[in-house]
């Protein structure tokens, strides 16, 4: 086992899959000569050359759509969006083409493609650059959507996504690229569609995914010092959603707090909270709580931007509410 960063875990996954299958290629802004805006693609242009690693012009709609077309005839592109905020320019190609080709052709066509990049707030970037936009993609049948917050998950999920015959959107976080963890030396993959119990517990279920995982685990430790045993579910896959993993945990703890860094309306978090209310109604001992971002665009000011987002304190407060510890 080696201790590496999420950035390097993603780099290893890309490298291994490009070596395994010459149909796999990487394109995006600054992925080549610059070695990636966040260095995820470091060294890959030197190793594989063009056109397997392609620096694109700043034209998200154009290069994303080009990759969709290439995937439709059998190549396996990995599209790097420098941020999900820029991916908004490419949404037409993702929603109207990638997600629809198989359906509109009556099953004749597949679109094996990966879209990945940093999503969600970082720091001091104001409102256009601090958005957790996963709900836009999760809403769309025809897409798969997954996330990761550990190097082990990052590598295993990216490798599976590249091998999948469907369009897969992968949610990353600028703040998490440097997070480290253990990754096996031997090859492995993690199947899409599976949640992971990141911490076992019996009194309350904390459900999250992507970057907030770290603060949820921190909150779970604090709860332990207060005598509360919290189970932490990392959804990892957002579409399809591993509903059984959620219900199995809630049936055990009878209480749930969902933590999602996106806005509250029509989000993964609000959907999961609804699913629990509907399908675990008989076993719930309290209302389901949702800890999410405040329903406002992100301000630049640091105190304000921290106040907008979920925090350990907010997670503990919500946990206390469902545990009637007030």
């Amino acid at each position: 086992m080696a201790e590496i960063s999420i950035r390097d875990a993603l780099n290893q996954a890309l490298d291994e899959e490009m070596a395994r299958d010459e149909r796999v290629f990487l394109l995006g802004e600054e992925v080549g000569e610059y070695n990636g805006a966040y260095k995820v693609s470091r060294g890959l242009l030197d190793k594989y050359g063009a056109p397997r690693v392609l620096d694109t012009p700043i034209a998200e709609l154009g290069f994303t759509g080009l990759a969709v077309g290439a995937a439709t005839v059998g190549l396996r592109p990995v599209v790097e969006w420098m941020t999900f905020n820029f991916a908004l320019l490419a949404l037409d190609q993702v929603i109207n083409n990638a997600a629809k080709m198989r359906h509109m052709s009556g099953g004749q066509l597949n679109v094996p493609i990966v879209f990945r990049g940093p999503n969600g707030p970082a720091e001091y970037l104001s409102s256009q650059h601090s958005q957790a936009l996963q709900s836009l993609f999760v809403h769309i049948p025809g897409l798969k959507v997954a996330s990761y917050a550990t190097p082990y998950d990052a590598k295993g999920i990216l490798k599976s996504a590249i091998r999948d015959d469907n369009p897969v959107v992968l949610i990353e976080s600028e703040m998490a690229y440097a997070w480290t963890g253990e990754v096996p030396d031997e090859e492995y993959t993690i199947p899409l569609g599976k949640a992971d119990v990141k911490r076992e517990g019996s009194d309350i279920t904390l459900i999250t995914y992507s970057k907030p995982l770290r603060m949820v685990l921190e909150a779970a430790s604090e709860l332990e010092s207060m005598g509360v045993s919290a189970e932490v579910i990392d959804l990892r896959s957002l579409r399809p959603l591993d509903e059984e993993a959620i219900y199995a945990s809630v049936r055990k703890t009878n209480r749930a707090v969902v933590v999602d860094e996106s806005w509250p309306m029509a989000s993964v978090g609000s959907h999961v909270a609804w699913l629990i209310s509907r399908n675990c109604f008989d076993v719930l001992d309290a209302q389901v709580e949702l800890v999410c971002s405040e329903d406002v665009p992100m301000p630049y000011n640091h105190r304000m931007e921290l106040a907008v987002q979920p925090s350990v304190e907010k997670i503990i407060d919500a946990s206390k509410r469902v545990l009637y510890m007030e």
Partner: protein, 342 residues
């Protein structure tokens, strides 16, 4: 509104050249098939057998037939927009499967899930049928990218070109500009064909475009451009054949403005009040079917009786497609859950 003078050279031909009779008879048959198919589709739409948006190809037959007849569909690809029945027939899809798709039946080419705007045939390398204006242009650039990649990375000896059809309305989308730049930078074998029927829905080209001869735009991407008479199927065939050879030999994309005209409204719900009867009649006098027929009669390749036989034969094919669609089953409702994920 009269027919305007163009500022570029329009490639056309004034006779059958050295084309063989059998080949030209096939072009004539395909154009007549499309015309009769669309007439029947309009009729069935009126009877509410076909619903939704239905964009007919009458008047533009020479574009799809001439261009696609210049391809080798073992290697080449074709993508177009929502006015796609003509292209579907020209790539050789079964009229039965197309009509059944218009009817929304399980026997349709897309199992009743696509309808008029979404005809597909993966085996014939026809990738739709796209309902968002200009959205097929980046995708077609991607199939051309794959054609380059198969050759450069995967060592395939023979790869083809991609024909990307779109209307004059699509040329102002960012997708067009982003795609042509990428194709030029990466030297992709994409042939971009503006089916310039002079109206983006109800808006005349000159009202929304700084130029009316789109060949001019090729210069800005440093790629070859060309303008073709789209009412003359032989001109379209010869022009695209030449472009196909150039795209492969010079490893370059090409932008081609094909001047054509649609006889019907934008879709079935459009009475086309934004244009004059004179303009329509002027184009109908150079109807692509009549033009080819006249050239073939001049060359003593065909006579009126022989043409009537072609016409009777395609009418029979079209009537059979109606019968097929009428007698086909509705898709089982549960199939809504199919064809979403591989």
């Amino acid at each position: 509104m009269a027919k305007r003078e163009t500022k570029v050279d329009v490639f056309t031909v004034d006779g059958v050249g050295d084309h063989k009779k059998e080949f030209l008879v096939e072009l004539l048959r395909q154009m007549t098939l499309i015309r009769r198919f669309e007439e029947k589709a309009a009729q069935m739409y009126g009877l509410r057998k076909i619903g939704g948006f239905c964009h007919l190809y009458n008047g533009q037959e020479a574009v799809a037939v001439g261009a696609i007849s210049a391809l080798d569909l073992k290697h080449d690809y074709v993508l177009t927009a929502y006015r796609d029945h003509g292209h579907a027939l020209a790539v050789g899809m079964e009229p039965n499967a197309i009509m059944a798709e218009l009817y929304g039946k399980i026997t349709g080419c897309s199992r009743g899930k696509g309808g008029s705007m979404h005809m597909f045939d993966a085996e014939k390398h026809f990738l739709g049928g796209n309902g968002i204006v200009g959205a097929q242009i980046p995708m077609a650039t991607g199939t051309a990218f794959a054609q380059m990649y198969w050759k450069k990375v995967m060592g395939e000896k023979k790869t083809g070109v991609t024909l990307c059809f779109f209307g004059d309305g699509a040329i102002h989308q960012g997708a067009f500009h982003e795609s042509l730049n990428l194709a030029a930078v990466w030297k992709l074998p994409a042939i971009y064909i503006v089916e310039n029927n002079q109206f983006g829905m109800g808006t005349a080209v000159h009202r929304v475009s700084s130029v009316e001869d789109f060949e001019i735009k090729a210069t800005g991407f440093d790629m070859p451009g060309m303008t073709i008479d789209g009412m003359n199927v032989i001109a379209v065939h010869d022009g695209i054949k030449k472009a196909r050879e150039q795209a492969q030999a010079d490893e370059t994309p090409i932008l081609i403005d094909i001047k054509t005209y649609r006889y019907k409204g934008h879709s079935m719900s459009d009475p086309a009040k934004y244009r004059t009867r004179e303009q329509l009649e002027q184009f109908q006098q150079q109807d692509p079917i009549l033009v080819l027929k006249a050239m073939m009669i001049d060359a003593k390749m065909i006579n009126d009786d022989e043409y009537k036989k072609i016409d009777d034969d395609v009418k029979k094919v079209v009537n059979e497609s109606i019968e097929f669609a009428e007698n086909s089953d509705e898709p089982p409702v549960d199939t809504m859950y199919e064809d979403i994920y591989a």
